[in-house]
Symmetry: D2
């Protein structure tokens, strides 16, 4: 039983079929192919406005390129201390931006609050050449703790940084899972709530390797084509990226895949978050379940060969702290997760 | 008729089949999958020594990461002025290396000579902190002009820089095409001739998007895992890269694909390089044909809808200069090039 | 009355005399002059071991160059959130290191504790290519809050990071002030306590513009000459730097200047830190006094034209928090501070 | 006899006196002092228009900061292969610009020609994301070969790049020497001839360490304050820089110093450039003399203990090539050069 990550799965059958269908004949290179152009058009429709979209192969590249377009080398990006850009990208944002600073803030359940953001801004002097300049806010949707921001919460954060004119970046490697839960339109949870750039993930949601960096104001994308090429992220056989994303967008396939993953997470959260053999670290609102596991439960999971990640405890609420011997285990569901396997996991936890 | 590039084709049927076969069940992420491990093992066998290999999605990333491992930010890379790292990567080597300098040298047919390299080294003071430090030589095999280096030529270049201890990098985005022509072993044309790092291309030769950065001395690869991740080139579903390269290596598929492409180029070069309607800019030794095209031939090609690239004339031999109205046209063959289309191209040129 | 900073003063008369004396005749450039060589020798004597020393013109350059020699671009530097490298250098460490990350920790009075450092290390996975790698600890002596670390405290911090092999950097822009208070030898508070690189400040202590970056293990300095030149910090008329630092070192001039400054601070702290018109934010242990000022005191200072900096309150102990209307004022003494002016300041505060 | 460089001298007596006079009392830091403000005002007067000026401590920093404000990381700077930014700054322009490319062109006497620049531009595709983008032209005045550009020559170069909207940078570390020879106004040889940014050198012309980066269009200077601070080039005791440059500007001291140096060079060039014991490599038009020295002359110079630099021969005209045993020797005159020593040098060469 492997619940390590949503990237342990391959590609969905529709994505594979799209690749096979896209394989015949010549096509223009470097993103000027028909598949990519159709994706760009579709994204404008999906998001209800003209957007500038750029496909890349990894979420790390997507986030780092997006941020590099938003901040100067002496810029600062306010973000959560558990965010992927802080914790899991080996400093890619600093590399791509030529040295911008990530200002890492704590927050329960992986979420930033307007109060914490406002306090941090207070320590970042505006206009003084002695100090790095706050130029972007980065939030993750769904968060690294499996929670989600409501549109109202996103809007409140955007408003907290509006007076200082920070750009708002959303790391949406699990954007599909968040939208599936929220039941809102993609526009409502992004630009209508104040988001300037979205990294819309495909890889964790049924593709091999594709993410879309979406600028809701195309003027902000001016440098992107240079930065993407210079970063080795402009694939020559661009249709490979285009065909994957087109398959995801067709017939709301992206939402169907996310709904399946979310449903498995919900099932686990409901079953495992009670009964004393484990409890929820945070509400499970997308496709991840974080369970606080006593030692005996850990032992049963190990005996059953269940694979999952241990997770840092920084973002626990103070009234839900770890007790002696407990750890947090992360269980991630994907489009490919077998419901039967979730039941076996539940049974293993229950002992 | 599209002869723009070898990246206008899709993937070979064997590569597609390998992807489909690799699609089932969970796999470890970030390059720790079984496909990638098998590729690493196979590359050590193919190159007849223990190598450290890293798969990435683009040739630009491969070259830039390799060079960043070989030179300091104050290092200099001696290379040809027509090389891909100079001309076609939007400064990726400078970006990945944090500002190293490419020293661009002229040379007929896209090839460096030991004399030119030695002369350039003479202007780069060793050890002085005022000057950038020559730390790598980069050669392209096959070159950007469709020519190839023999093993003796590679060795002579390596020897020209040995006293200064430069590392030797080979941009092998068309390595397969060169080996297919040379009929040598991969080892003979690389480390046995003095090459330290090879970027072994898959994308132009039947894959969707995969290149292998191969360090013949694994000690030189120490920083690579950090650099690759930080560059957003560590694909989470690493089996996607591994499965492609494994398919290329199986049954010498990579050589078969290259031989097909080379044969089409040879046919065109033999037919078109005579008769007065066009002449060869340089010998066609791999899968590219560079034809000097008089205006009338250009017109016929345009009328027939033939697509090709115009090419800079810097590397022409002095006795083969462009005459009034002439341009250089680049015609690239791939694994997917239809021999019938080559014949139609020949007929179009012949008029 | 100007207590804004210790850099509002000019140079000491001995430094000026040394410059005048150094002005005649030709001298070798770029740090190969006799003055600089003598300084290098003297520093080895002063620190009781062979050191590698590099003179530069600013503290920002000193810190950033030192850190760039200690960490990779994917490295992390653990430091205090109030430190100069975090707050006052506009991202210079990130620039010089090509994107390393500063991990900013809180701590009362501007001081790091072994517990906080150990906790932070626990969140920085060693060896994983997903994460930035903790490679240096940076402490400030005296701190940005006017406090100092004892040798035992430095040693405890160095021991906290020893198992992870972090290099220990000391930002000593006010090193002289700290040594003057501690009464220890420079060796005792640096390498004997575990410090690997010291930025020994001259500018704030009577020079125009000179800082010495001192590597206690010369092997760590290997890249420094390239980095310094490349950063535009290798002054061509190197004797200008050398003569200043030589004057500081002669006859313990550096300590005399620091003692004067410290004495003024002590006088202010003792007089102003009682009586209800102000209280100490933190103990005044070097040449800076941080006073918590009620509104009425602020008004008197403004009326008297006293210039000082308002200071962030992050590092206040929880039992010494600001009350309604209070701010923290920073008053900095230098070698040139007139004791009479300190008395006038004290009288102004007392009202 | 030391003719190694114009930076082997100290500071002029007027500069020293100005520093002494500037040493009393407190002054605002970081360039907000009165001396610096007066220099900024004076430079606007001297250049007959409102300029934005920034003082830094070294020519390398001046050039690299200026270029970083003019080009993107994917920008290209067209320049001469012998220029200081290519040959003597250890890659500082690449570092400060985060990886821009210097396109190094040959040219007799260290000078670029419009034809060479136009040809180079032809190889740099505008607007294509595959290629670095030509964004600046950098010329050196006086050149590294001791020659100078006339206003007409500067204008012709500026016009050659105008259609591509390149910014024009002038490395003026020896600007004073050029103006002294040309007898023109500073405005005529800079912005009136198409120059956008001038690095106006003080260090080689009688100061300790000060250069002014002058933006003729202040809008181009927008990023400079951040970049300068981040580079550790914003000296805290800014009056040290301001006082030096103010002394240079007062009473045309800068021109007097340059005229002295130029006169010494002229004397040497006239005496030594004939008679067969040496000949001029290039016309001596500023304060440097480049002599082609036969072996016997080299021997006499060595025996007399004359110090000078050997110089690369790349920029020799084809009809003035080195003969067997000859080298190029560079002899540099400064404000402090003793005319008697020049006569002794002439006598030594004459044998």
């Amino acid at each position: 039983m492997n619940f390590i990550s949503d990237n342990t799965a391959g590609a969905s059958s529709r994505v594979m079929a799209a690749l096979a269908a896209a394989n015949d004949g010549p096509a223009s290179g470097y993103g000027s192919d028909d598949w990519t152009r159709r994706v760009e058009d579709r994204l404008s429709v999906l998001f209800e406005r003209e957007v500038a979209a750029f496909l890349v192969a990894t979420g790390t590249a997507a986030n780092a390129l997006a941020l590099a377009c938003l901040v100067k080398p002496w810029g600062a990006v306010i973000t959560h201390e558990d965010s992927h850009i802080v914790e899991d990208e080996c400093g890619a944002p600093e590399f791509f931006s030529n040295g911008a600073k990530l200002v890492d803030l704590p927050g329960t359940g992986g979420k930033l609050t307007p109060a914490a953001v406002t306090r941090a801004l207070g320590y970042l002097n505006e206009g003084s050449f002695h100090n790095v300049q706050a130029q972007a806010l980065s939030i993750t949707q769904a968060t690294e703790c499996g929670t989600i921001y409501t549109a109202a919460e996103v809007r409140a954060l955007a408003e907290a940084v509006a007076a200082r004119r920070l750009a708002v970046h959303m790391d949406g490697s699990r954007f599909a899972n968040a939208v599936a839960t929220l039941g809102c339109t993609p526009a409502e949870i992004t630009w209508k709530a104040g988001v300037d750039v979205l990294c819309f993930g495909g890889t964790k949601n049924g593709a091999w390797a594709v993410e879309a960096v979406i600028f809701f104001d195309p003027a902000r994308a001016e440098e992107m084509k240079w930065r993407r090429k210079r970063a080795g992220q402009t694939l020559s056989k661009g249709r490979f990226l285009g065909a994957q994303f087109e398959a995801l967008l067709a017939d709301d396939h992206w939402l169907d895949l996310a709904r399946h993953a979310n449903a498995q997470a919900r099932r686990l959260a409901e079953a495992a978050g009670s009964g004393g053999r484990s409890r929820l670290a945070w509400p499970s609102q997308a496709n991840e379940v974080f369970l606080i596991l006593p030692a005996t439960t850990q032992d049963r999971l190990a005996a059953a060969g269940v694979r999952y990640h241990a997770w840092p405890d920084r973002s626990l609420a103070s009234d839900n702290a770890l007790r002696e011997g407990e750890i947090i285990g992360r269980f991630v569901m994907s489009f490919a997760t077998d419901p039967g396997e979730v039941e076996r996991l539940i049974a293993t936890i229950a002992g």
